[in-house]
């Protein structure tokens, strides 16, 4: 594909960027702080898609781009390249998660019980228009229980394994720098499972939802039921130079297991991401569940969904079509005009030189 070399337009380009930024207006640390405090789910989504966890940076990226999510994610992906990687933490284990929400749609009486946590699942969706008339929206306070919930919740699939419903996997012993890493190696197919799950963790939420939804509606091999959904905090366990391990803090994570019952045992699909983003995890886990044996070119085929849900690449490819394509488009036009001219000439030739009739044998 050719991109025409053009000159000129520098002033217009500069002014267009100024126009974009001026319409957003000036901002400072207070606006960044306000975004971080008031839009935590948006901040979470951006951190997940950027594959970079820092609420301040994500809020800053949103402030700087006026909430243009793809630009914000791109800013963060670019910024991360300026930072050294210090180490690889210990793997997060489900059983260690500081859990805020843990539900199952497959089984009512799961070990540890069902804890709804923060959710609008059962809320009326009513826009608080009174705020626009000057009222203040103040949510009702939670009435805390006398006793705290357990910080850690048991695994639903481990309980299912005890009941011979699923086969528990052998734990992967890969650690540290040996874990396949998409930021340092290409995505090749058939994809390593570690690449698949990393790619889904950083995938575009809308893209994953669209393809996952296609599978849910029947364009896949398996219909998902949410086996377990968690919103939690995970410790970042690192090592002191003298060898002591410690938690350098916690990050918010979401994870979903979905299940289907096509064989004698239950099949599981899994996905997780930074931040609290249930739609993404359920959709991604549905794609994982459906990927085995998916037809080539279908929405649930691994290569199809991994390539098409990488937000920075797909949005970048999409918006590149706005850039000058004068040479390629002109070339297409030339070909079109040429074909048109040839057709016209053929038609003219046909009308001025009528075809021989039966009474006039051709020579």
């Amino acid at each position: 594909m050719a991109y025409v070399a053009t000159r000129g337009g520098e002033r217009a380009i500069e002014q267009s960027e100024r126009l974009f930024r001026e319409e957003i207006g000036s901002f400072d640390a207070q606006r960044v702080n306000d975004i971080r405090q008031s839009l935590p789910y948006l901040v979470d989504r951006v951190m997940g898609e950027a594959s970079l966890y820092d609420e301040d940076l994500a809020a800053l990226a949103l402030a700087q781009t006026g909430g243009e999510i793809y630009e914000a994610v791109l800013l963060l992906r670019a910024w991360r390249t300026t930072q050294p990687r210090l180490t690889v933490a210990e793997p997060v284990e489900q059983g260690d998660l500081f859990t805020h929400r843990r539900i199952s749609a497959a089984f009512k009486d799961i070990p540890g019980g069902q804890v709804l946590g923060p959710t609008l699942d059962y809320a009326h969706r009513i826009l608080a228009t009174d705020v626009l008339r000057g009222d203040r929206f103040t949510p009702s306070s939670v009435e805390p229980a006398d006793q705290p919930a357990p910080a850690q919740q048991p695994s639903v699939s481990a309980w299912q394994a005890e009941n011979d419903l699923v086969d528990l996997p052998e734990p992967d012993q890969t650690a540290g720098g040996d874990i396949p890493d998409l930021t340092r190696e290409p995505l090749l197919f058939p994809s390593k499972r570690a690449h698949t799950l990393q790619s889904l963790a950083r995938a575009d939420t809308g893209g994953v939802l669209a393809l996952g939804y296609a599978a849910m509606r029947g364009y896949g091999q398996a219909h998902p039921t949410v086996n377990e959904l968690r919103l939690a905090e995970a410790d970042i366990t690192v090592s002191h130079p003298d060898g002591r391990k410690f938690s350098a803090g916690r990050v918010k994570v979401s994870q979903a297991e979905v299940v289907s019952k096509k064989s004698e045992k239950l099949n599981l699909g899994f996905a997780a991401t930074f931040g609290w983003n249930e739609v993404k995890c359920i959709s991604a886990a549905t794609l994982d569940l459906n990927s085995g044996g998916a037809p080539k070119g279908s929405a649930t085929e691994e290569e199809f969904f991994l390539y098409h849900t990488e937000g920075v690449e797909s949005s970048g490819f999409c918006i590149h079509f706005k850039l000058p394509h004068y040479v390629t488009f002109q070339s297409s036009l030339d070909a079109m005009r040429d074909a048109k001219a040839k057709n016209a000439a053929k038609t003219e030739s046909a009308t001025s030189d009528p075809a021989p009739t039966k009474s006039e044998p051709a020579e």
Partner: protein, 138 residues
């Protein structure tokens, strides 16, 4: 979670202003300190998939790191986010603990921070517990 050092856990999560203020009171007694590292960087965070047991990368976390030394002992701080001073403060307290400098004050600081963090967690989990569903089968 792997067995972790409770004092380092607490220092990494301690309120930054309190931590910095406390660490300043240690500097005079710590003697000459070499700063080996004071920087921000990324920690790659892996997670284990519960369907097939695979370990994969969730993504990277911004952290601040400080590594210091006084004599044979070293102090280390690593905390989530961009706060080099807080990481250095953590390293100073760690160094003081290793060198038995103001050890009672350090232990008291860590105990207080641990209590604060436990109380915060407990309050969070009381609010979570309020959302527990007791379902009836119809």
């Amino acid at each position: 979670m792997a067995d972790t050092d409770p004092q380092l856990d607490v220092l990494a999560r301690a309120a930054p202003d309190k931590l910095k203020h406390f660490a300043e009171t240690l500097i005079g007694d710590l003697g000459e300190i070499d700063v080996l590292k004071s920087r921000t960087g990324l920690i790659m965070l892996p997670m284990r998939d519960t369907a097939q047991g695979t370990v994969f990368h969730l993504g990277e976390v911004l952290v601040s790191e400080a590594h210091i030394r006084a004599g044979d002992q070293q102090g280390y701080g690593m905390r989530r986010g961009h706060d080099l001073e807080a990481a250095m403060a953590m390293a100073l307290v760690d160094l003081a603990l290793q060198n038995d400098v103001q050890s009672e004050a350090c232990a008291a600081f860590c105990d207080q921070a641990a209590n604060d963090q436990a109380a915060e967690d407990r309050e969070t989990l009381r609010r979570v517990e309020a959302t527990r569903v007791n379902m009836e089968t119809f």
